[in-house]
């Protein structure tokens, strides 16, 4: 006969009982935006080093992507601030460095992100956004200062890549170190969130590139969106080959992300009873539909199919895959933040 165990607890602490629900949309959004910024930094760093004059995609990646990264990071940190219960003590994060705390590492890494992104944005700002440079002539001085020193350009690019990788992995490690929550307790989460960040960043840059395409070459799907943004870069010639390059990169990131998700599920289902029970939240539990439909189906498989067809010139090049990838990345964070809090150790069956 199957042993029967039942546990009744008289505790009713808010946010803890009946199941842990300490973190909500703020943390999911913060982790998503952190990953997105990490991806933007890595791509911006690579493009800064490999940039060629008058290459519009590189300008978008380096300058517009970095400026967007600064905005996204600020939004993410604001979401994190909203989640704090003791908000006015937040400065305490910067009075110490706790080597065993991923959150402490993260808070210091976040401080490095701002100057790295700002430097990357400044390097080609006058070329990418002439209107802004005319309004703030000092940006031209800073840009000239950076571009006149090749070693500085390389250093900024490398700094963006390294800090981006650290930021992307940190968002996963932050969750994976919580051994008390079996579904989070997987080392795969670090690289998974990094790859998800890269794919959403490539999709975001791809979207920006499409939205800023001159009128005669803009896809119909994007016609109604952000024409004002397009004017910022319309003075530059369009390289029509770069959109597919980003789409191809995005497909590669998505493929690796799908493989990592597979490894994550395999790791959970072949581990201990608590991990198997945790995995059941995604494989037959309350988060199964959201995970398979929004994260896997619409966030990875569908955009991969669409981008493959687009790259093969079988269908028209649109914003749809980029939007799906970004929403899929957001759904991944929501599912993992919410589902993992429900995973727990089998206290009642221990003895």
């Amino acid at each position: 006969m199957t042993p029967f165990a039942e546990l009744t607890v008289s505790r009713h602490n808010p946010l803890v009982d009946p199941t842990l629900h300490i973190w909500g949309w703020q943390i999911a959004v913060y982790l998503f935006l952190g990953g997105l910024v990490a991806g933007l930094m890595i791509i911006a760093g690579v493009r800064l080093i490999a940039i060629r004059p008058k290459q519009r995609e590189a300008l978008v990646c380096c300058t517009i992507g970095s400026i967007a990264g600064l905005a996204f990071l600020s939004l993410g940190m604001f979401a994190l601030f909203l989640d704090l219960a003791h908000k006015f003590h937040v400065w305490r994060l910067y009075t110490t460095f706790q080597i065993t705390s991923p959150m402490s590492w993260g808070s210091w890494i976040l401080l490095l992100v701002y100057p790295a992104l700002a430097a990357n944005a400044l390097a080609h700002l006058p070329e990418a956004i002439p209107a802004l440079a005319r309004r703030f002539p000092v940006t031209v001085v800073w840009s000239d200062f950076i571009l006149a020193r090749e070693w500085l350009v390389v250093a900024i690019g490398i700094a963006n890549m390294f800090v981006g990788i650290a930021l992307g992995i940190y968002t996963g490690i932050l969750l994976s170190t919580f051994g008390a929550r079996p579904l989070w307790n997987s080392a795969i989460l670090g690289p998974l969130f990094l790859l998800s960040g890269l794919s959403t960043a490539a999709a975001t840059l791809h979207g920006i590139l499409l939205l800023t395409t001159p009128d005669e070459e803009r896809p119909a799907f994007a016609d109604f969106l952000l024409s004002s943004l397009a004017r910022l870069v319309e003075a530059h010639p369009l390289d029509t080959k770069v959109g597919p390059v980003l789409a191809g990169a995005d497909s590669s990131f998505l493929t690796i992300e799908a493989a990592l998700l597979g490894l994550f599920v395999i790791g959970q289902t072949t581990s201990t009873a608590v991990h198997q029970q945790a995995a059941s939240l995604l494989l037959g539990g309350p988060y199964t539909a959201v995970f398979w439909v929004f994260v896997i189906g619409m966030g990875i498989v569908l955009p991969l199919i669409l981008q493959t067809l687009e790259l093969g010139k079988r269908i028209r090049h649109t914003l749809a895959p980029a939007v799906l990838v970004v929403l899929g990345g957001l759904a991944l964070r929501f599912v993992l933040v919410y589902a993992c809090q429900q995973s727990h150790w089998l206290e009642a069956l221990n003895h």
Binding site: L7, V9, N13, V16, I22, V90, R92, Q98, T100, W345
Partner: protein, 179 residues
């Protein structure tokens, strides 16, 4: 050195919640929150049923994940007896320690900081037992120094079978339940 621990005799505990009330009174725990609680665990099916009643709280672990994950050092190990405490002024309310605790022993105080059982360290430092131990009507709760081989908790653990909660989580809990 000392290592404070609690030994609770599950054959004597009747789940009266006196320990819960004593804790709330002693520590001014806000209404609706609990630093300790009663767990009732039933095993088996009729007629071979086994019921265990436990008074539970923070396990004051030897390997506390709540301390390791704290980004500000607010959660720390007290120099006396290895008790895990929270410096309210340093706590930012990030809730990482709540996520890290496999026992769900922590909560966020309405004032915003993480809160939990302190083993009534303010009483212990005066030579008193924690409030929960001192009021137990069945004397099922025992508090003492695990490093002292002559202490009551050491003698009980040497003479009776016992278990700790979720030892496989690797936290090395310091509350033991006699069975």
């Amino acid at each position: 050195m000392s290592r404070f621990a609690m030994v609770i005799d599950t054959r004597r505990c009747v789940g009266c919640q006196d320990c819960v009330v004593a804790c709330k009174t002693e520590n001014g725990v806000t209404e609706g929150y609990s630093r300790d609680w009663i767990a009732e665990e039933t095993h088996g099916a009729f007629p071979t049923v086994r019921l265990e009643i436990r008074s539970e709280r923070c396990n004051q672990c030897d390997n506390p994940p709540c301390v390791g994950c704290c980004p500000t050092g607010a959660s720390h190990i007290h120099e006396r007896g290895g008790v895990i405490l929270v410096d309210h002024d340093k706590c930012i309310g990030c809730k990482a320690c709540l996520a890290a605790c496999p026992y769900n022993a922590r909560f966020i105080h309405p004032d915003g900081y993480a809160d939990k059982c302190t083993f009534c360290i303010h009483r212990v430092e005066k030579g008193l037992d924690p409030a929960c131990v001192s009021v137990c009507p069945t004397h099922c709760m025992h508090f003492g120094d695990l490093d002292d081989l002559e202490s009551e908790v050491s003698r009980l653990l040497n003479s009776r079978p016992y278990h700790a909660l979720i030892p496989e989580a690797g936290t090395k809990p310091c509350i033991f339940y006699l069975t």
